[in-house]
Symmetry: C2
């Protein structure tokens, strides 16, 4: 077996708002690390928690622990150590896992002709962020759905493990589809064509304006879904792995020898939507 | 093999002063975690670093990296992952190591009749802290020596590994001799007799007033030496392990069936010095 290790540091005001329910914070702090392990097909084994707290706050710690250990128990891992100190609120979780030697999913294995897949649905979490930022308002039930996606992401561990030997590359979506796809493309030295109409979205996202949809689907962040590639000949194996993992997956494009990323509409013509800012450089010329 | 994992979070103003040279901070952040691994006899393999920085500061990062990687290279471990974010200055390092199954040194194995040992010398680091706190002043060369002990602790990895199968329990001294000894005593359900005259100290500490010496030796903190026990029949084996590890060790007392801790003078009579505050409860009645 090989080790797989992921470490994330969450800082108040940057990675979470002071209004976050402590249980959700505990859940998410662990979930984002488990998502990294999922992306390499690893099985999590244990984790450490280091915590800086401005002051002792029983209610906060109670909630944090509840969210953290509910997820740890659900995936069968144990807290094996850590540290607690006074200081500006900061959580650092390191998750350790294992994967059969040489079988980890990497970012570097995508090949021209591979199909490009994503799990679940994209963009709900970004909608919640837009509401918190005051740029969007949503009906109460819609906001609750979006907020649940943002605060309670589900790491795709079963899917990642089922994709060992099936997927040629994988990454988890923490920074948004275009940004994280870029990591695969650079590491694999390939390009991609994305099919706009195929990007999986909830009815809630589908109801938003075109520019909000583009932000949510292409640059959403905080989705914690798996983005992966597999040879076209392995199409049925991908579907079987997804079924075994009880996780929806969708083919959203393909890998090309030509560098860069093209987005096409349902007819295969260049997508005419406005790309989220900061991604202008990303399209192939 | 079993995994051994240690995680520490260092917060500015609490674990280090803003005046610390960045290279020393990088060294110490890794050293304190390696010291935990040394205490269980583990061999370090790799580490992660999560870092929150108020702003990008090239000079700081350059120094930090230099101190960190010099130690990592010296002990043969690699940085395998981590995280960088904006936020109040905070370093969280997690070190992973391995130890043959069932052979880790624990805090719970001390038995009545065991000898009590410590590596190196105690108290120099505490002297430097007293100077920084403005409670003590030292000649420049003395302060430099004390500060070196505080800022550049040397994890006793070779000694810890050599003590596998030799020591019955071990801990590293991060919080001071009495406090850390207390962990062994509680976990092993035993007591101890400490011989004041045997506590290893530098000439610098030996020149200080009795009360400063007591603070430095008994409650110093930041020594990062190993405190360990071994059966009296294993005395020669301890000395051989120390020689193999090229690390000085000293027998400083013994483990007793009677709970609590007694400190005795060179004649075996109760030591008459003033115990550092917060340890009054610690003496056996």
């Amino acid at each position: 077996m090989q080790w797989a290790v992921s470490s994330d540091m969450l800082v108040e005001g940057r990675h979470f708002l002071s209004t976050v329910p402590p249980a959700a914070l505990g859940h998410k702090a662990l979930a984002v690390n488990l998502s990294d392990l999922a992306a390499c097909g690893a099985t999590p084994v244990s984790f450490t928690l280091a915590l800086a707290l401005p002051r002792v706050d029983e209610e906060f710690l109670e909630g944090l622990s509840q969210g953290l250990f509910a997820l740890a128990d659900a995936v069968g891992i144990e807290l094996v150590g850590g540290d607690t100190t006074a200081g500006p609120l900061n959580l650092c979780i390191t998750v350790m896992g294992e994967v059969p030697a040489g079988r980890a999913l990497l970012r570097s294995g995508a090949r021209p002709g591979d199909e490009l897949w994503v799990s679940g649905q994209l963009g709900d979490a970004r909608l919640a962020l837009e509401v918190f930022r005051g740029r969007l308002s949503l009906p109460e039930a819609d906001f609750a759905q979006a907020r649940r996606a943002m605060e309670w992401p589900q790491p795709r561990l079963a899917l990642g493990q089922a994709l060992r030997g099936v997927a040629s590359s994988a990454i988890d979506l923490s920074d948004g589809l275009l940004g994280d796809l870029g990591h695969i493309l650079r590491r694999s030295q390939v390009g991609a064509t994305l099919e706009w109409a195929e990007l999986p979205r909830s009815a809630l996202v589908a109801r938003q304006s075109p520019s909000v949809q583009a932000d949510c689907l292409l640059a959403g962040g905080d989705d914690y879904e798996l983005l992966f590639t597999a040879p076209a000949t392995g199409h049925a194996q991908v579907l079987a792995a997804a079924q075994a993992a009880q996780t929806a997956v969708r083919r959203i494009g393909c890998i090309t020898a030509q560098p860069g990323c093209r987005i096409v509409d349902a007819n295969g013509a260049p997508w005419q939507g406005a790309l989220p800012r900061a991604f202008d450089h990303f399209l192939a010329e």
